[in-house]
Symmetry: C2
DNA sequence: AACAGTATTGCAAACGTTTTCATAAAATTA
DNA sequence: TAATTTTATGAAAACGTTTGCAATACTGTT
């Protein structure tokens, strides 16, 4: 059976094999109800025998959709966007789409380039992370009429549709949590905020909350770390061994928090008696670490799902392009890495 | 500038805007050296002004490559395949390709379906994980002449090209590590091995190594857990609280090990004095956990890179389809979660 | 038996590009 | 200046599908 077909099997070979026209084969694949059951059987057999796989490109050129969706994330390292990617994927696959994935490594110039590629491939819709994008990117998006959604971030005046959380709120919740536990000597470990609205919003809100609480933080207690466990660990090691007196750490996300936690434990600090650590994100695994990480949950799965659905919906109804903004609530997950400032 | 072009901008609109033929525009995009510098400038301006993005589908239909590569992984959850995906992506993007990602959730029937979709989209090459695939999948792969590589696993008699590690070796190394430390009361936490050659190879090798060492393991010490931290944690909690006397745990991968570690610490066990835990994989973050996870490294990044390169190479030189098998060495990473059996 | 209605199929145009071939214009040579 | 070569461009065919329209073959009704 199924001989090793050398070279292209097109719709015509199938038609010939089945003794029908190309049109009929096409109908078998797209509108089987329109073809005689007997013929259907024969054609299906021919399809199987020849190993025919229909060419999406050719049907796409006919005005058909490509049935692909582009997803642009900064990175796929660690589990930062893992749940987002997985749930977005699952959602859209269920709806008949295929995922084209692109990453840019937190570089918005690179983002523009990959976005262009996605557009060349005529993805039917695009999801990207966050709301910081280059002008070129925004212009490109505006010039094409492809549905777009920014996932992860929410802003009430975003230039494009967005489905995500308010990062300032996430930052505030994290800060309030530590403040409520009586912490006043707080260290901040965040990634560079340039070109990253998530980190910027979180950090700004944290700083604001602390200021409002009348707390002054020495510059030495503010440190930068990219989203890498190893890097965060080394940066925190330095911070915690040199700057005594810090009782709480607010981290830009759970990956950084993980590094912070690791370095603290290595230094023999008791968590949370000697040091409280709070992350942001609630990534897969954060709840099951030991000690379980206190963090601010961003509902990644739900965001991925909603973003996928929104895109598919917009493709189906190319309505007047109205901007949709959906805010996904952030929720504090107080777990084992935070406790009262007095260690009690 | 760049007006919000309603509806399709095709090569003809650009041609008209620039006062040239479609052929010239095409040449500007594909062979700029063939066109007069003055014309080039004019056309490029028209391209910018109209916001033209070339249609890959249309050029693909012309026998051109699609410039996409399919990557099929079981899941993108946690960081199990994160490094693989990221490095594969980075490698092929550098070489001008775009990544089409598919997941199947460890279900080989689902794998067949997503694979078909990838083929419909005419990806120029396909990478998938492991060597367990359905007959349908293998047949489909054989019937199309698209370069294929199985990443992650290595087997000297694989039906398709493979670039990866020998999972039996990984299992043996993990077992030998614990044996060398004097452990004889060893628990096994593995995922279902059905349709998963990685898990199966590892587990078989572990069992063999233990048998060779004259060790008999009670059935109660063999437990199943999918690749999920939460699930592994709960399964291990049960195992460790009911079955006393276990001094070492061999886990199917680092994610399971992470859950095991978490449950052990929660139970107040000292690691590694009371219990040694070894994982397999050395995923991103494993080295920086606390305590740092002892594990068997599978060089994911390198595998991703080599797989990407191999595919691109095969696309460039559609040589006689010779099967390539590259074995990536596994290396023991003894860290803080394993120690002598006597706890000394 | 003639008719209308319906079900099934094929023909051919169309989609947006690339590329071969031909032609025109410009540059070079004798 | 005429002949030749080179450079730049356009016209049209081709790629693998889908689909509107037309044609044919059935079905059932009188």
């Amino acid at each position: 059976m199924m001989k090793k077909q050398s070279y292209k099997v097109d719709i015509l070979s199938v038609a010939k094999a089945a003794g029908v026209s190309a049109a009929t084969v096409s109908r078998v694949m797209n509108h089987p109800d329109l073809v005689n059951p007997t013929t259907l059987k024969r054609v299906e057999k021919a399809i199987r025998k020849t190993g025919y796989v229909r060419n999406r490109a050719a049907q796409m050129i006919h005005g058909r959709r490509s049935a692909t969706l582009g997803l642009v994330v900064p990175t796929v390292n660690y589990s930062i966007f893992a749940e987002l990617v997985q749930s977005f994927n699952d959602t859209v696959v269920d709806l008949g789409f295929t995922l084209v994935l692109a990453t840019h490594g937190y570089d918005l110039t690179a983002e523009y380039k990959v976005l262009r590629k996605l557009l060349e491939h005529r993805v039917d819709g695009i999801a990207l992370v966050g709301l910081d994008h280059s002008d070129d990117t925004y212009r490109l998006l505006a010039s094409q009429d492809v549905p777009v959604v920014a996932a992860w971030s929410y802003a009430k005046s975003s230039r494009i549709s967005c489905i995500g959380s308010d990062n300032r709120e996430a930052g505030r919740v994290a800060a309030d949590h530590l403040l409520a536990l009586g912490h006043r000597r707080i260290g901040l470990v965040f990634p560079p905020t340039h070109e990253n609205d998530r980190a910027r919003g979180r950090l700004e809100a944290v700083e604001l909350a602390l200021r409002d609480a009348g707390i002054e933080i020495p510059d030495a207690w503010r440190v930068r770390s990219p989203y890498s466990v190893a890097h965060a660990k080394s940066v925190c090691h330095e911070l915690l061994s040199e700057q005594k007196g810090i009782t709480g750490l607010i981290c830009g996300n759970d990956i950084i928090a993980q590094g912070a936690l690791s370095s603290a434990m290595q230094l023999g600090l008791r968590i949370p008696q000697d040091l409280s650590i709070v992350g942001i994100g609630d990534f897969a695994g954060s709840a099951d670490m030991y000690p379980a990480l206190s963090t601010v949950q961003i509902p990644a799965q739900q965001i991925g799902m909603e973003a996928g659905r929104y895109l598919v919906e917009s493709i189906a109804n190319p309505d007047p392009v109205e901007i949709v903004r959906r805010k996904m609530e952030v929720v504090l997950k107080p777990r084992a890495t935070t406790g009262h400032a007095d260690g009690g």
